[in-house]
């Protein structure tokens, strides 16, 4: 068991790849936002891919481990200490019984992942332990951690050992500044935006609004212009050019609500009545996960094939070969 001494801002249980098979009924995949960092954390402690861990957002929790175990912290850089002694990230660390982990603020990046040998063993809901906060599904009683809760742990089955580290060139390269370049694929509804509008989207700087979370990332930027299809349409689509007859939303869609683009992420709605001119591919999700309000995005257009190749490259990095012994 792990005792939640202080919950932090919003720390939730997640597992990889999240909740699949229930999308049609309105359940989004949830799961870790930065799956690259998350998978490496599980690898470090010898867990199976699907073991649940904690996603720590912005301000981390204070946790007390009731029995000895092995942990690893990956993702955003925080200032973790174990019983007051600084603890390395991207490395497996042995924890004695009763030890207290303090995490602090994220400095570089926004989301840190904690893996514990054996995984967090909360009850799966619809086949996954991932937290879907909005509907209170999964995780610890459906929501983020609260002070005083106790997290159950699974049996340690893996061959994890302390002193393993992720090679520097195998980690997501989280930049220290505020500037990001994010890949996008055109579509599904790029034909609703005129050429000038598409050009505008790709050439402009977009600022991440503070009202952004695991449901959607709201962006501020210039005005959009539309193609004929967006204005010359039946009344069932709705009045505004960004309105379309209700349809399904890809995860990662750049969902245009009036003039506000919202990138729909892990806990986003599965359907609705706005167009999705562009989609952020899965391989760029770690960038979204690690950016903070007021960070600035510029988008790079890539093909479906390029986006899939990048996904394969990252998948290949989430493997034993990326680990080394800490020197």
């Amino acid at each position: 068991m792990i005792e939640v001494v202080k919950a932090g801002l919003e720390t939730g249980v997640q597992d990889f790849p999240g909740r699949y098979g229930f999308w049609e009924q309105g359940f989004p995949p949830s799961g870790p936002f930065d799956m690259w960092s998350f998978r490496l954390a599980n690898l470090l402690v010898g867990n199976a891919d699907d073991a649940a861990g904690l996603e720590i957002q912005f301000l981390g929790p204070t946790l007390r481990f009731e029995s000895e175990t092995l942990i690893a912290l990956t993702g955003a850089t925080m200032a973790p200490t174990l019983d007051g002694v600084p603890m390395p990230q991207w490395e497996s660390v042995a924890v004695p019984a009763g030890a207290v982990l303090e995490t602090g603020f994220a400095s570089t990046g926004a989301r840190t992942y904690l893996a514990v040998a054996g995984g967090i063993d909360t009850a799966p809901v619809l086949g996954s332990r991932s937290t879907f906060h909005m509907a209170g599904v999964g995780g610890m009683e459906g929501h983020a951690l609260k002070d005083g809760q106790r997290l159950p742990l699974g049996d340690r089955a893996g061959a994890g050992r302390p002193g393993r580290r992720v090679r520097a060139d195998c980690r997501p390269p989280i930049p220290a500044g505020k500037e990001w370049r994010i890949e996008v694929v055109a579509g599904p509804n790029d034909d609703w935006i005129d050429e000038a509008g598409q050009h505008m989207f790709l050439e402009s700087a977009w600022t991440l609004q503070a009202r952004s979370n695991r449901t959607g990332y709201r962006l501020s930027g210039p005005e959009w212009t539309f193609a004929a299809r967006a204005t010359d349409k039946g009344p069932e689509h709705g009045e505004h050019p960004s309105n379309i007859l209700d349809h399904g939303y890809p995860v990662g869609a750049v969902n245009l609500c009036g003039q506000t683009p919202i990138i729909l992420v892990n806990d986003g709605p599965s359907a609705g009545g706005f167009i999705n001119p562009f989609t952020v591919p899965s391989a760029a999700f770690w960038k979204l996960a690690q950016s903070k309000p007021n960070d600035v995005y510029r988008f790079d257009l890539v093909s479906v094939a390029d986006a899939q190749a990048e996904r394969q490259r990252i998948d290949a990095l989430c493997a034993e070969a990326s680990l080394e012994d800490a020197g």
């Binding site: 049609e24 359940f27 509907a135 349409k233 209700d246 869609a253 986006a307």
Partner: protein, 289 residues
């Protein structure tokens, strides 16, 4: 219109939106669900999930198991093999929900909105006026006079978009602007030409005209109907609302609270598109219930 050839559009590296047409049209939605059923049956390797909606399907696929072009080819072939839509029959369970129309809960919600956000006409009266009906009683009679087709699910777990199968019972309603910050769970809402039951206490924009004590979403899976599911309804199911008085409403509420409530569902009829078209042709569109 229904497109002669479906249009495929990428949504990033692992989604494809398949557009079958671009209007709100039952035939189009039948086609969506018939094709969705066919794709599920085919169990194509690498197809992860399907998200059917009014006129389109979003396909989620695993690019490491099936390529983009192969998805288009395989699903295009299944679309081509569907044959005449007229011949399609879909299994379609029919759920019955008791509703207290013009109830105290939605009235209190409207009053709260008026007090905190802005004055607006009482929702049932607004709908009576905009749809040129005689009275609230007729609104209830028309709203409960048809079976509804579950055209799509989504936005929130368990939220179903319901469309009247009987064209004599179609109503329209504008959406709240600005939207409500809260809506009672179980509220019966109407927006555009879609009606819905709110699965949980959430914000909302539909006009609110009644309340059902019978849940459509239950995380705790307390009632028998939720034993194998959290969300009751599936696309292609049908829903019927039955007006009840306060006494029966209170009885059902108590049954739901005690966990003894049994959902009313008949799950043995197939929805025949040919028969639906023939039935539509027999209706006198000038009459209302």
């Amino acid at each position: 219109m229904i497109y002669d050839e479906p249009r495929f559009r990428p949504g990033g590296d692992r989604f494809i939106e398949m557009e079958l047409g671009d209007e709100l049209n039952f035939d189009l939605n039948f086609l969506v669900h018939a094709l969705t059923a066919r794709v599920r049956e085919a169990r194509l390797d690498g197809i992860v999930e399907l998200l059917p909606n009014m006129a389109s399907i979003v396909i989620s696929y695993a690019p490491e198991r099936i390529g983009y072009d192969d998805v288009l080819r395989e699903i295009g072939a299944l679309h081509g093999s569907l044959g005449s839509l007229e011949d399609v029959e879909l299994p379609s369970p029919l759920y019955t929900f008791p509703v207290l129309y013009f109830d105290h809960l939605t009235r209190a919600c409207w009053e709260d909105y008026c007090a905190r956000i802005g004055e607006k006409e009482y929702d049932p009266d607004l709908m009576v006026r905009l749809n040129a009906l005689e009275s609230r009683a007729q609104l209830a009679r028309i709203h409960s006079g048809t079976e509804y087709w579950v055209a799509a699910l989504g936005f929130y777990p368990g939220l179903a978009s319901l469309i009247a199968l009987d064209p004599r019972c179609r109503l329209t309603a504008p959406k709240y602007n600005p939207p409500r910050t809260w809506t009672p769970k179980g509220t019966l809402g109407y927006g555009g030409s879609v009606t819905c039951l709110y699965p949980a206490r959430t914000p909302g924009g539909y006009q609110i005209i009644g309340h059902s004590p019978v849940p459509v979403f239950d995380l705790e899976q307390r009632l028998r109907a939720f034993r194998d599911r959290l969300a009751l309804l599936r696309p292609g199911d049908r829903v019927r609302f039955v007006p009840v008085g306060r006494e029966e409403y209170d009885h059902v509420t108590a049954q739901v609270e005690s966990g003894a409530y049994e959902h009313q569902v008949a799950a043995y009829a197939k929805f025949s598109i040919r028969a639906y078209h023939e039935w539509l042709a027999t209706l006198d569109m000038s009459v209302r219930f």
